[in-house]
């Protein structure tokens, strides 16, 4: 393809090709601080291309492709090329990665142990993880957390955090503007702005950590903490995993170990400050 770049997020090496320069330049800026190995073969290929040749220049729209594609995926305008790249990368990991149990969850770590936050979009798991990452925690990832079936450890996938809507202002107020990507307004997922993780989080991205806390956050409503049984945590996480079925017995054993060894809580919170305080409180109790 005409333009391309290679980058590694956690254990995954991506090759990203594009018909346009802009999405590649935007990616290279977001991932400038990540370790690069130009000679490492790619685990996954993403392609950003014009669905029709004339769509390269005339009202350019970006079709998301790669090793894995979803049929009927709608193209995005070129101004949202960065979002297209992010969606393409997520898709390859969600459908193709087999080395680890893949949880659709954010995670933060402290003292070599991890808190994993699982929830649907809108639960606030990304925002909470991003804020905790600015507040003494190591951000492991806002979208995927990988569990190593052999060791039971959690592995980071610290892609650029995808901040949405109200979370943009909330996080922007606390970080150096140089760590923010361009504002992508009015995308199908609302307003989006990417946050580059702190340099220490990127530098530590290959360090495995032991899961210590499983949280199922829910944004909205009164502050509440409800202990969750192993069975419910297990079922919820099977739904939050894109490769649980494909991994077969390995995935079952990894997930079973995770819920058996890690205390789990459902957490409701009305605002981020309360959410962070609840995480800190549960962490202090779990660490005892």
């Amino acid at each position: 393809m005409r333009y391309g770049t290679r980058l590694a997020v956690g254990p995954v090496q991506f090759r990203i090709g594009s018909d346009w320069a802009a999405p590649i330049a935007a990616l290279n800026r977001l991932y400038a601080g990540y370790p690069r190995d130009e000679d490492r073969p790619a685990d996954a290929t993403v392609r950003l291309f014009a669905a029709r040749p004339w769509r390269r220049r005339l009202r350019p729209s970006v079709q998301i492709g790669g090793d894995f594609t979803v049929p009927d995926a709608l193209p995005l305008p070129l101004s949202m090329g960065l979002l297209a790249a992010e969606m393409g990368m997520n898709l390859q990991v969600a459908l193709g990665w087999r080395r680890h149990l893949l949880l659709h969850a954010s995670a933060v770590a402290k003292d070599g142990r991890a808190a994993i936050l699982s929830g649907e979009s809108g639960s606030g798991k990304s925002t909470l993880a991003a804020l905790l990452g600015e507040d003494g925690w190591r951000l492991m990832g806002d979208e995927f957390t990988l569990v190593d079936p052999a060791s039971g450890d959690a592995l980071a996938f610290p892609r650029a955090v995808s901040l949405k809507n109200a979370a943009i202002a909330e996080v922007a107020a606390r970080v150096d503007p140089a760590r923010l990507g361009p504002l992508l307004a009015g995308t199908p997922k609302g307003d989006i702005r990417h946050l580059i993780p702190r340099a220490d989080a990127v530098a530590a991205m290959h360090d495995p950590v032991r899961p210590a806390l499983l949280l199922f956050p829910r944004f909205g409503g009164e502050a509440a903490v409800e202990p969750m049984g192993e069975g419910e945590a297990f079922v919820r996480l099977t739904e939050a995993s894109t490769n649980y079925v494909a991994l077969g017995e390995t995935g079952f054993a990894a997930l079973l170990r995770l819920v058996r060894e890690t205390p789990a809580f459902a957490v409701s919170y009305p605002d981020s400050a309360t959410g962070m305080a609840l995480v800190d409180r549960l962490w202090a109790e779990a660490a005892r």
């Binding site: 393809m1 490492r40 073969p41 392609r47 090793d67 193709g96 991994l247």
Partner: protein, 338 residues
């Protein structure tokens, strides 16, 4: 060399994996994924010296294929439990059959739907048993349903309600309206048992079906994988039976598949370096087009050679049904899409 040629040469054993440039693996992996051959390649190169990231990715693929094959065989077992209670017997086809019979082409092979073959007169009973055992129709469009039943070699696809797996129930191996009409009675009556008590086509029929699937029943999408099946099957069967190629030729004639089997053999020789007996390798002019079609992928895994692909697409329909029927079918489909 292009990535697709590297892939073919790696499978054939012509390309030394250690001599491949690190970045050349990008394209090989993408093309192998697009051709459903990544697991096959991972098994083929299990002992080869590879760059560590490639070795790790291939180990993942081998583990994933082992799980997927166990799941595919479990699905065959589910069909057996549903059908044998009514004394209905069936023959496994394609990927599941290769895995059930432990054939070398199943090493690393992706398996899609469960394909089974049953005698024509049992179609109604099999359909009922499957519906009672949790399978249901994938789509309930009356035209498609009637089309399948009148003209095709299989029932409309069914999917299992709780396991989410598809089953294709065949009563022969090519559409009923196809220019070639294999003999389904022979296929069923000469099928053989595997060690686990499943039934698969006998070697010559299995190869005929593989060639029909590759060359007569579609536009050669996924052709490299089907050709790899053909190559491994013929190599192993010929090693076990010195008369295999002669018996294959006779059986192919019986099924009206002589040209397809012969062409598949020549393509396996051209791409995977198959050894053919005397008389099998006179090249035909059109073989070059087939090779080009099979290799029509760029280093990003994208299909190339659009016109040639379209030509093969049209050819596949031309072979599948007579012109009047084809015209009526396309007309109906077009009108419905308006």
């Amino acid at each position: 060399m292009s990535a697709v040629r590297d892939l073919v040469a790696l499978l054939a054993g012509r390309q030394d994996p250690a001599a491949l440039a690190p970045r050349a693996w990008d394209g090989v992996i993408s093309v192998a994924r697009a051709e459903a051959l990544l697991g096959t390649l991972a098994c083929r190169l299990a002992e080869a010296p590879l760059p560590p990231p490639v070795a790790a990715l291939f180990a993942d693929q081998r583990a994933a294929v082992a799980v997927a094959q166990a799941q595919a065989l479990w699905e065959a077992e589910m069909a057996r439990r549903a059908l044998t209670s009514e004394r209905l017997e069936f023959v496994l086809l394609k990927g599941t059959a290769y895995a059930a019979a432990g054939l070398s082409c199943s090493e690393g092979r992706q398996i899609g739907d469960l394909d089974i073959l049953i005698p024509w007169h049992e179609v109604g009973r099999v359909e009922n048993e499957l519906l009672e055992s949790g399978w249901e129709w994938v789509k309930s469009d009356p035209y498609d349903d009637a089309y399948y039943r009148e003209h095709m070699h299989e029932l409309p696809p069914m999917i299992h309600r709780s396991r989410d797996r598809m089953i294709d129930v065949h009563h022969t191996i090519l559409p009923r309206t196809h220019r070639r009409t294999p003999d389904p009675l022979v296929l069923v009556s000469e099928a053989v048992a595997t060690a686990d008590g499943f039934t698969v086509l006998c070697p010559v029929d299995m190869v005929c079906h593989c060639a029909a699937h590759l060359l007569a029943d579609g536009d050669l999408q996924g052709g490299l994988r089907n050709l790899w099946d053909f190559h491994c099957l013929t190599r192993d069967f010929a090693a076990a039976d010195p008369d295999f190629w002669d018996r294959l030729a006779a059986r192919a004639d019986k099924h009206e598949l002589g040209p397809e089997v012969a062409r598949a053999a020549r393509l396996a020789q051209a791409l995977y370096g198959a050894t053919l007996p005397a008389g099998w390798s006179q090249p035909r002019a059109a073989d070059r087009l087939y090779v080009r079609r099979l290799l029509a992928r760029d280093d990003w895994g994208r299909p190339t050679d659009f016109l040639l692909q379209q030509a093969f697409y049209i050819r596949s329909h031309w072979m599948r049904m007579p012109p009047v029927l084809l015209a009526r079918h396309l007309w109906t489909k077009w009108r419905r899409n308006q």
